[in-house]
Symmetry: C2
Subunit: 343 residues, 2 copies
Amino acid sequence: MKALVYNGPFDLTLKDLPKPVPSPGEVVIKIQAASICGSDVTGYKGKSNMRIAPLVMGHEFSGIVTEISEDVNKDKIGARVAVVPNLYCGKCINCLEGNINLCDFRKIVGTTMAVGGYNGAMAEYVAVRLEALLYLPDSVSFHEAALLEPFAVALHAVKKAGDLKNKSALIVGAGPIGLLVLKCLKYLGAISVIVTDLVDNRLELASKLGADKVINTAKENASEAIKSMTNSIGVDIALDAVGISASINQCIDSVRNNGKIILIGMAAQHLDFEFKQVVCREIQMFGSYTYTTEMQECLDILNSGQVNLNDLITGIFPIEEGPAIFASLAEGNSEDIKVILTM
Amino acid sequence: MKALVYNGPFDLTLKDLPKPVPSPGEVVIKIQAASICGSDVTGYKGKSNMRIAPLVMGHEFSGIVTEISEDVNKDKIGARVAVVPNLYCGKCINCLEGNINLCDFRKIVGTTMAVGGYNGAMAEYVAVRLEALLYLPDSVSFHEAALLEPFAVALHAVKKAGDLKNKSALIVGAGPIGLLVLKCLKYLGAISVIVTDLVDNRLELASKLGADKVINTAKENASEAIKSMTNSIGVDIALDAVGISASINQCIDSVRNNGKIILIGMAAQHLDFEFKQVVCREIQMFGSYTYTTEMQECLDILNSGQVNLNDLITGIFPIEEGPAIFASLAEGNSEDIKVILTM
């Protein structure tokens, strides 16, 4: 089968790999859409310990079940599915408490974890366990279904803020996750959402998607603008979809006393942050990592028609163009939000 | 009246000041005990913007009501009292939501705030509003009552961790606040408390006060010890009573996935912290600043006899010795925990 193989930093090639064979309890999926995540691009650049070559990347995807192991019911063949790529152990203390996203023994499709690598969906076929499948209603396209995974990342983060009705929020970073956070905040009833970024075209998209105010922090002092918009009180919730000192300090500066900051981005290894404000103003900070049950919830939301993800898909290309697309994304000049590969 | 006046960095002198006169709604208290806070010593060294000379410091204190303004009921005269030094406005959004500790317009007895300075209790008399009084039962001594304020700081912090029954905890820093946090954790049912510090005599006191394990981090790798004690899971709750990069990173290293870190100490201005762990392990961090209702709760606990504060009082001296005591504390070699001045 065709597969996009990561051979090492800046080295991605289309290769012919053996088609996966389903182990007991597994199915094989013919991939229809695999979306490129920012973490894949970081991996391509050789800057992630979660992408160790050789590896087929791709953890945001959808497809059709074409083969099953003997112990799987035959009615699964032909099912349109998305996949929860977190293959948690189900037995450790984190899993038993429902925090399957924090499982110390998890594999993640398309990544390299402590327990080993798992070839992903930037290929014609992938094998996964039956329990990882989400069955798609006809109303949800394969393309949108490929974005269920980052949508779930955003929903999981936003849910940590608690009840959002009539709450004001700041999103720092209008990349794919920041924009999906925006959709979640609006869906859950936030009354006012401010979005900051350094790139105008991303902020324009944020405006189109319903942001009440966008601020290019390269051109405008966001802290002052937010103070004047919030009667000097600050926003109720700030979500950091970047993860560098400047972004988290923007959250700290902008959130109200006793307010909540949700940390999603992880661009920096360490942070120099405005610590005294966190203590003196009793700010609450919550790390948010991937999701637990949210991919199914996101599928239900998509199916309800209340949220649409198509407006984030800025490119759809055949897998053969993968190497050129990764090279372009790694340069950092791309205006793309979400790019989908088809097989 | 005699008063210990802070004139500037390392310059504290006993002076004769006019005795305060009660304004409407106020009482004058004859001070019986004023305890020295670490923040007073930081102020003495000229390193706090909350101690601007000239100022009489002292916000941890107790005494007897000796004078009242005309509108105060005469039965208050002679009352044995402690004082809530946070003179919050009662009208701002923080106060209206019950977060009187975050009031932007508060004065604090014995400190300099944005709205001005307020002479404190390292003097023979201080004037405060009637609502700031806590009436002492006979069972509570003036000395213990002077420690109600830092006791409340500790209780407020510990309450942020939620239900403590059967929870394990780490306290980083065995100074007065760390030791009071230890008392609160034990009182509220924590099953196992580890305390770290760099100073052996403080750790010995922590052991006497009920710590299940003490670790001198100058001599032993605390992270490894805590991992082996917690089956590699980590403690449920970590409380930082220091506030430097090393202390908060110790908390991050030691707390379990999805665990809680309570930030109390503020020794550093900025922190370089292990940010990715906070995100990837979904750690929750809560800034904790002073207290709201906890001084009354602490008084009730003291009155119940379930907690005793006398074992933290390592020195009681007349106010005349104040300048020498501050000079000694500022040198950093003192083995004292809490020192009380009497008038």
